[in-house]
């Protein structure tokens, strides 16, 4: 199983680097084993450098940069071992418009193996959906689901 682990680790690392490059054009990211001699016990370090920067630790990344780096890692793991569905709850909240565009562009390429259910307030993320559901509480305290068109969905996200 040591070989299997190393193989999976290498593949995840490759995919992570690739996706990070699509989210941060010109940037570099990689995973590293803290203890190469002992891969089955070792912790995993994440290195991520947005373009032109020289960060000493990933904790100095901004809120949006951290979220996008985590999304790259998440998607990389889906590429090597797809799960039938994935539920994302306002994962785009910390991202600016440009980064939402990059995120949704990559997401659209992943729908062959995985279905995505995405809770969002962001109009750009709504636009890529194949199906939109609105949740309302016409009766206070009781949730109801309604199928909606894009223009209605944008309205629904605007007010109670």
């Amino acid at each position: 199983t040591k070989n299997l682990f190393l193989e999976t680790f290498t593949e995840l690392n490759r995919r992570f680097g690739e996706l990070f490059g699509r989210f941060f054009p010109g940037g570099h990211a990689a995973l590293a084993l803290l203890d190469e001699q002992n891969p089955l016990e070792s912790g995993i370090e994440i290195m991520a450098q947005p373009p032109g920067k020289r960060l000493r630790t990933i904790h100095l990344l901004s809120g949006g940069e951290k979220a996008l780096t985590a999304i790259a890692l998440l998607m990389a793991s889906f590429l090597i071992s797809p799960s039938p569905f994935c539920l994302l709850d306002e994962i785009d909240a910390p991202l600016d418009e440009e980064n939402v565009r990059r995120f949704t562009t990559v997401l659209k390429t992943m729908t062959q193996q995985t279905q995505f259910l995405i809770v969002t307030h962001n109009k750009r993320t709504m636009e890529i959906a194949d199906q939109l559901y609105g949740v309302t509480m016409e009766e206070p305290g009781v949730s109801k689901i309604i199928g909606v068109r894009l223009d209605v969905a944008e309205q629904l996200a605007v007010s109670a």
Binding site: T1, L4, F5, T8, F9, L12, L34, S42, G43, I44, E45, I46, L61, K66, T69, A70, L73, L74, S77, F78, S81, P82, S83, P84, F85, C86, L87, L88, D89, E90, P94, L107, Q115, F116, L117, I118, V119, T120, I128, A129, D130, Q131, L132, Y133, G134, V135, T136, M137, E139, P140, G141, V142, S143, I145, V148, A153, L156, A157, V158, A160
Partner: protein, 168 residues
């Protein structure tokens, strides 16, 4: 294997039986603050076996039962079902010949809970084994809760191993 439908009844703010059909591709869920969007993801997390009330934003597990409003009484049972389709009959377990599978979890106000596969009572372990065999386990990262997206970055180096191990 594909998720075809989520049915929620008496779980959190879903007092009425609610069926959500899940088409292939990307489904987007929208609505104002407090309308019940995150309750949908909590219901899925619960149906696949989540045991921690805190992860479901509750103090005790009974808090997931519909607690009533000014016009409705609290309910005595919460039930969530997930229906999967497109199984290729390759399952070794006794559910092998089904092409569609529905896993159900119920909780009564008395504290009693039930798990069912295609309406047949079973144990939680049976549901977990089935999901694992049927199609890529339900890894920790199948559901990313609100505000938790950078959990992978903030996790400790050892915690991050889980991501590789689940994928291996």
């Amino acid at each position: 294997m594909r998720l075809k439908q989520i049915t929620i009844f008496g779980f959190k703010s879903f007092a009425d039986r609610t069926v959500i059909t899940v088409p292939p591709g990307i489904v987007s869920i929208v609505g104002p603050n407090g309308c019940g969007k995150s309750n949908i993801s909590d219901s899925v997390l619960w149906a696949i076996g989540e045991q921690s009330a805190k992860t479901l934003r509750a103090d005790r597990m009974e808090d997931v039962l519909f607690n009533g409003t000014e016009r409705r009484k609290p309910m005595g049972m919460a039930e969530v079902s997930l229906t999967f389709e497109g199984l290729d009959g390759s399952l070794t377990s006794r559910f092998g010949e089904f092409s569609e599978l529905t896993v159900t979890r119920r909780l009564f106000r008395s504290g009693e809970s039930e798990y069912l596969i295609n309406k047949v009572p079973c144990r939680l372990k049976d549901i977990r084994d089935l999901l694992l065999e049927a199609g890529g386990s339900f890894k920790g990262h199948t559901i990313i809760e609100q505000g938790k997206v950078d959990g992978l970055i903030n996790a400790s180096p050892v915690e991050r191993r889980g991501l590789i191990e689940e994928a291996a």
